[in-house]
Amino acid sequence: MKNIFPPFRLIFVMFALVFYPSCGEEFLQVKPLGEINAQNFFREEKQGGWAINAIYNQMRSWDFVSFPYLGMTDIVSDDAVKGSFPADAERLNAFDDFIYDSRNPEDIRQTWRGYYQAIFRANVAIDGIPRIPKMNETLRKKWLGEAHFLRAHFYFNLVRWFGSVPLITKPLTQDEFYTQERASVEKLYEQIKSDLNVAASSLPLKSAMEPIDLGRVSKGTAAGLLAKVFLTQGDFTNAAKWAKEVIDSKEYSLYPDYARLFRKEGENGVESLFEIQATALEASYAGATAFNMVQGVRGSPNLGWGFNNPSDDLVRSYEPGDPRRDATVLYVGEVLPDGSGVIEDNPSMENERYNQKAWVESHPGLQDNGPGNIRILRYADILLIAAEALNEINNPTEALKYLNQVRQRARGTRTTVLPDLVFSDKLTLRERIWKERRIELAMEQQRWFDLVRTGQVEKVMKNLGKNFIKGKHDLFPIPQTEIDLSEGKMTQNPGY
């Protein structure tokens, strides 16, 4: 027995030496599983489309559609109050009371964060799609047009909320993270208009779009937003020009029934230029937003959290008999628009009334599966922009024509309410148009921007006894975290 061992030992050692292992480079080269990475992205045509869809996707996030958005549009304006129970999300009262600061409520930072994450996705697409090696050039142009439009839309809201903000137009690298400064308002508007011009010249008309693309932005959307941008800047000639371009394209018209415009049947209809698209799927809530839940009837029927309640001031400001009031406000005791129930009094709620425009028909899933499209830009808005701009450039006749179109649709077949308006003087007409905008677009997150744009905000807020400080509250504060991280390169807005 013993004799076989010595050679075996020797063989073992030699074996061990010869096969002393090495796995080599491939062993350490691993790939992510079930994912692609930056190096393989923008290599195929379809990936360009994915990147575009991802920008639209971000617009359904919490930061875009719920407390942060409603707080900084409706609740801060004279249209709405916080809503829900007094103690519920009490911090949102800061918007009503003008006591928000650079830290509180955190919703301001969420808006900022959500918008810059959306801009990031737009920048990724704008940066990547031109690099796709082989693809349909018409499609490339269209997709780039969508990305430019969306980026402009994001910056347009940011500049109106915060004033000058960092202008980021490409994904940043490590050494650029902390070096950004706030770009001037002029520079931001230049970029917004340039992006919108790219969009307007590369996007198809709404009528030329494939049915499957319903809900994507079109040439008309870009033109319409340009009109609003020029109006905001006080460039009424160009505002009128772009609004007229939309009107004259004959691509859009007013939906006959104002109340039903906000129902499912009105989604992406003849009046629609731009809506955040949402749907309630049965299985996952991947197509939904929190917009409907946050504003839904609280209690019985139990449809949501009951925030963003139409204010007394809004309810008072309707002309007698204006049917738009009942189309905008849901009251206790009212039968729901689809007849599915009656709103019962909830004793824990104060000022109990709800935003009817955010109400949705019964749908698969629970409250948090909100399917309602969020109206961002519609034809009535364009008509009122046209009216306002034309009045400013001394074309009251045409201005009145568009204004009265809006009123006419609102009154429908009724004959005793909302009569056509006639011209007395420019100032009166201007105020009539502003008032019409408030009523027509009430609870559609437009009012705050209009108040600031037109300079009415101080007077309106003082009249309501609010602690509004001019030169401070016209803009929201830059989040303290941004100022801290940039070690002061980012500056704060005045007064904060």
Partner: protein, 999 residues
């Protein structure tokens, strides 16, 4: 009695197995040797292993210490071994009677210490290695053995992350070297692991902590945060079966409950902050509900362990089974673990040994309902848990949290069950004298199943679930590791040399899948399968983690000259799949020197001084604890959008986070100097070490401005950090008559300092609380320091408000902050450094006494110099949560407090990050108090039991601290987020009774 029978049965079956395995090796010629075995005092020793060397023949000594054994050869050698006594080998030389005296073993200096890829005599150590004994590990009744390290080893900080059953504590060795993944690695019988949750204390033979670079450098990239080496119990050769049975049972209760406002106090505060009477008559509300009483309980836990070990000259075996059963102090939570371990070795040829260490673990746990700790803290005390009609009280309207009692009914099913198989199989070959080749395949496969179920219920419009819902998830991971080492060992005259070289590869991979469905057809556990839900509502996911792979070459040489001068040189080259191909390799050298001065002639005869050894070491270590893919961003899928007349979800995907292609290795360079000294025959010993560890290019995900637009924080090489420290361990042990006592004192001083920041030069900020970053990491300060306002007082009146102008509107009663920069206005620029979350001093005292059969031990440990941010007090959330009673000291017209502000519900200035919420985190704790009694004769022996110890141990009985939260131990795996108390599962105090029985 029951288990006496069981054990007898056990012995018999084991004996049978033994015979079966070993009979083929039996010889036939016979010669009988008998004799008696006693200790130094002449007392008989029972159960001593008596083996004929190099054979399987063996026996145990009887009740009177006598033995009788047959040998095949009159020249045989008989080996006598007994736990706790020195082993003796005696040649038969034809004698028919051999009486033996065994001496109690005095290990101390020549105990064998396990080091990476080998072991060494303690006297030969050059690096800093601390050992902890198996018995010490068993003193703390916990599922996780790292708990037992607390206060036991200088330089090791153990923070119980939470009191949740089965949860691992956070371990830091010699401070926080990195900003990311600062935990040490664990090496269990050679297998490199990130956690040792599956091990139970009784299976562990020894635990060694490698603290300095020289000791840990052999683990290269993985060693930067220290290495804990664990060796599990093995049988020993030529030993009769040893049976050990350990069992304990105990009870746990929350170490502390908080003082919260009762119903009438809460009502008063709510009225005061609402400026209107929400409650008409708060005084009439009485005590109301203390929600803590609704969720906490006294909970039982227990552990049972049976172990059989032994061996012949051809094999050794150790088989153990263990059950650990723990209910959590929060109702519904529990953790049970059952494990089986088989550690065997087989000498298959004179020069080849094979073996395996295999453990199989099954665990089952239920997690408490999500957020229940905070909910019980915040819930409205005016609401009843259950009202007179049997309905759950409404805590949603006012405090806006779920009713914790209802959560325990509806959200309590959060099960998980795990199966883990971990171990290795190895072959040791000695082809030639002096050379050992070893190849070992290690594996660790883990699978976990989780299920949670929520029935349909309605408590109120906020706390409800309209459709029953089931979530299931399965995950699997498997690691394997292949290690090949060659060791050459040679003594020549005054030189001793050990050379080690090796090659190792390791791979890790994991997958997960799961899904959910609503509207289950039944609400009981037998329906908790997805198929019982409505397929219309199905969701699913499945994916894999990016594989991690390592390939390493290692080398080490230990050289001793005249047993006085010791030198260790080591080198490891590591490749890690986590870095891009150019930055993939890293080289990690180390050097250590020790001088056993006591062996020099001029000290040799110095009385009193029994040991003196000086040590110095230097080494470079790496850290790669970053996620795979940190260098190249992955594309996020399912960022879908809705389009088209059918409102279809159209697939979208994009980059949403930035990655950093410039990532480099994080490195740490350590210097260590120290000495071991012993006096009075080593009854008094001291080990003292100083160290300096510089970690450069630390890898960390740093918060970047939101305007960058990245959804996550990219990793950057962000800063350089220095840890300087002093570790001191003093031991004194002595014997006076029957009284043995031992006192250990240990202390570690630590200074953690950021010395420079990375390429951007920007300070690192983290943890946004109420709109501010709570921590700031900047040069000259410890990592993750607290940053915020310093409170100067409270605005007493309108004049004060005018006198101390504030950038934001303030009212009388609000906190007044210090104008740090003296510019006359209080604004964001007045925030400043508030304190460090890292203790500057960790210490412990351990006292052990034994007298006759009694033993007693008391362990104390403590930390000093750190702060805790009591963040749970700052969260005012969506409603008006309950208050701690300290809020009753508020400023108001009747109480013009200068320290506590008026009552408000969030916002500036009363709830932003300031030292108002920062508390002293120092504590001193009676960690363990134990008393035991060992019976080793009389009745016990007649039952065939060699020794029986009964004991009682209490853990966490008292904690002296100024901190007002549940526990001053507030850890975090993320070093930028340490010391922030958000309301964790509280720590418990425990009392257990147990027995340890050896047969």
């Amino acid at each position: 009695m029951m288990f006496y029978i069981t054990n007898k049965f056990f012995i018999r079956s084991l004996f049978a197995v033994n015979i079966l395995l070993l009979c083929s090796f039996s010889g036939f010629s016979q010669f009988r040797v008998k004799g008696k075995i006693t200790d130094e005092k002449g007392e008989s020793l029972i159960g001593v292993n008596v083996m004929v060397k190099n054979t399987s023949a063996g026996t145990l000594s009887g009740l009177d210490g006598s033995y009788s054994i047959e040998v095949t050869d009159k020249q045989s050698i008989i080996v006598f071994s007994y736990v706790g006594y020195g082993t003796k080998e005696i040649g038969v030389n034809g004698m028919a009677e051999i009486n033996v005296v065994l001496n109690e073993s005095a290990e101390l200096l020549d105990e064998i210490v396990v080091i990476g890829y080998g072991s060494q005599r303690k006297s030969d150590l050059t690096g800093v290695v601390s050992s902890i004994k198996s018995e010490d590990l068993q003193k703390v009744a916990s599922a996780n053995i790292t708990q037992a390290l607390q206060g036991k080893i200088a330089g090791v900080q153990v923070v119980s992350g939470s009191g949740r059953p089965g949860e691992a504590p956070i371990v830091r060795i010699r401070g926080t070297g990195t900003l990311n993944g600062a935990s040490p690695i664990y090496v269990v019988d050679g297998l490199i692991l990130d956690n040792i949750d599956f091990l139970n204390a009784t299976d562990i033979a020894s635990m060694e902590v490698l603290k300095d670079a020289s000791a840990a450098a052999i683990y290269g990239t993985r060693g930067a945060n220290g290495v804990i080496i664990i060796t599990t119990r093995q049988g020993s050769k030529n030993t009769k079966a040893q049976i050990r049975f350990n069992a304990w049972q105990g009870v746990q209760q929350p170490a502390k409950l908080l003082s919260l406002t009762n119903a009438s106090e809460y009502g008063l505060l709510v009225n005061e902050l609402s400026n209107k009477p929400v409650f008409q008559n708060p005084g009439s509300l009485g005590q109301g509900t203390d929600w803590q009483n609704e969720i906490y309980r006294n909970a039982a836990f227990s552990s049972y362990n049976l172990q059989v070990s032994g061996g012949s000259d051809q094999m050794t075996y150790s088989i153990s089974g263990d059950a650990f059963l723990q209910d959590g102090i929060i109702k519904s939570s529990y953790f049970n673990r059952y494990s089986l371990r088989i550690n065997n070795t087989y000498q298959i040829a004179p020069f080849i040994k094979i073996g395996h260490n295999i453990s199989f673990v099954q665990s089952a746990a239920n997690r408490e309902p999500g957020g229940i700790v905070f909910n019980a803290y915040a819930a409205d005390p005016t609401a009843p848990a259950v009202d007179a009609d049997g309905n759950f009280g409404n805590t949603s309207t006012l405090s806006n949290v779920s009713n914790p009692a209802a959560q325990l009914k509806y959200n309590a099913y959060n099960r998980s069950s795990g199966q883990q198989m971990a171990g290795n199989a190895f072959v040791d070959v000695n082809p030639f004298k002096n050379l050992t080749l070893k190849s070992s395949i290690g594996f660790n496969s883990f699978s976990n199943k989780s299920k949670s179920f929520e029935p349909q219920f309605f408590v109120n419009d906020k706390q409800q679930n309209p459709e029953s819902r089931l979530f299931v998830g399965n995950s699997q991971s498997s690691d394997w590791q292949w290690e090949n080492t060659a060791v050459f060992q040679k003594d020549f005259k005054q030189h001793r040399l050990t050379l080690l070289t090796g090659y190792t590869v390791q791979s890790r991979q994991g997958e997960f899948m799961g899904g959910s469905r609503n509207r289950l057809i039944g609400d009981t556990e037998d329906f908790y399968y997805l198929n019982a839900g409505d397929a219309q509502t199905a969701t699913n996911y499945q994916g894999a983690s990016t594989p991690e792979r390592y390939e390493s070459y290692l080398f080490r040489s230990n050289y001793a000259f005249k047993d006085k001068y010791l030198l260790t040189v080591s080198f490891r080259r590591d490749g890690s799949s986590k870095f891009g191909s150019e930055k993939r390799g890293g080289n990690f050298p180390s050097l250590a020197f020790a001088w056993r001065a006591k062996e020099e002639s001029f000290l040799k005869n110095l009385k009193g001084l029994s040991n003196l050894k000086l040590r110095a070491s230097w080494g470079i270590l790496g850290n790669d604890k970053i996620p795979t893919g940190a260098a190249i961003p992955t594309v996020t899928n399912n960022l879908s959008a809705v389009f088209g007349p059918d409102e279809a979800l159209i697939f979208g995907a994009s980059l949403v986070t930035l990655a950093n292609p410039f990532l480099q290795w994080e490195q740490s360079r350590s210097l260590n100097g120290g000495f071991d000294i012993g006096f009075l025959d080593n009854r008094l010993t001291a080990e003292i070490d100083v160290y300096h560890r510089l970690t450069t290019k630390i890898l960390v995900p740093v918060p970047i401005p939101d305007y960058v637009g990245s959804a996550g924080n990219p990793y950057v090489n962000a800063a350089d950090v220095v840890n300087k420290g002093l570790d001191v361990t003093l031991n004194f042990q002595n014997k006076e008559g029957k009284l043995n006592y031992k006192l250990s004192v240990l202390g570690s001083f630590l200074d953690n300092n950021v010395i420079s920041l990375g390429s951007t030069g920007n300070a690192l900020r983290d943890v946004v609380i109420n709109g501010d970053f709570a921590t700031l990491t900047q040069p000259g300060y410890p990592i993750g320091s607290f940053f915020g306002y310093k409170v100067a007082g409270v605005y007493q009146n309108a004049e004060d408000v005018k006198k101390y102008p504030n950038n934001n509107p303030v009212k009388p009663g609000d906190l007044r902050f210090e104008d740090i920069n003296n510019d006359g206005i209080i604004n964001a620029k007045d925030r400043t450094w508030l304190g460090s979350p890292i203790p500057t001093f960790n210490y412990g005292f351990n006292l052990e006494l034994s007298y006759s059969g009694f033993d007693f031990n008391a362990d104390f440990n403590g930390v000093y110099g750190n702060k805790i941010l009591n963040a749970k007090k700052m969260f005012r959330g969506f409603g008006i949560p309950n208050f701690e009673t300290s809020f009753l000291n508020r400023w108001n017209k009747d109480n013009l407090s200068t320290t506590d502000p008026r009552i408000t519900n969030g916002g500036y200035p009363n709830f932003v990050v300031s030292d108002h919420f920062l508390e002293d985190g120092s504590f001193f704790r009676l960690r363990t108090l134990g008393l035991g009694y060992t019976l080793a004769d009389g009745l016990v022996k007649k039952l065939g039991i060699r020794s029986l110890r009964i004991y009682a141990t209490a853990n966490n009985l008292f904690t002296w601290t100024k901190y007002t939260g549940y526990t001053p131990e507030v850890g975090s795996e993320n070093v930028l987020q340490v010391g922030i108390d958000r309301g964790i599962y509280p720590l418990s105090k425990t009392l257990v009774f147990g027995i340890q029985c050896n047969f």
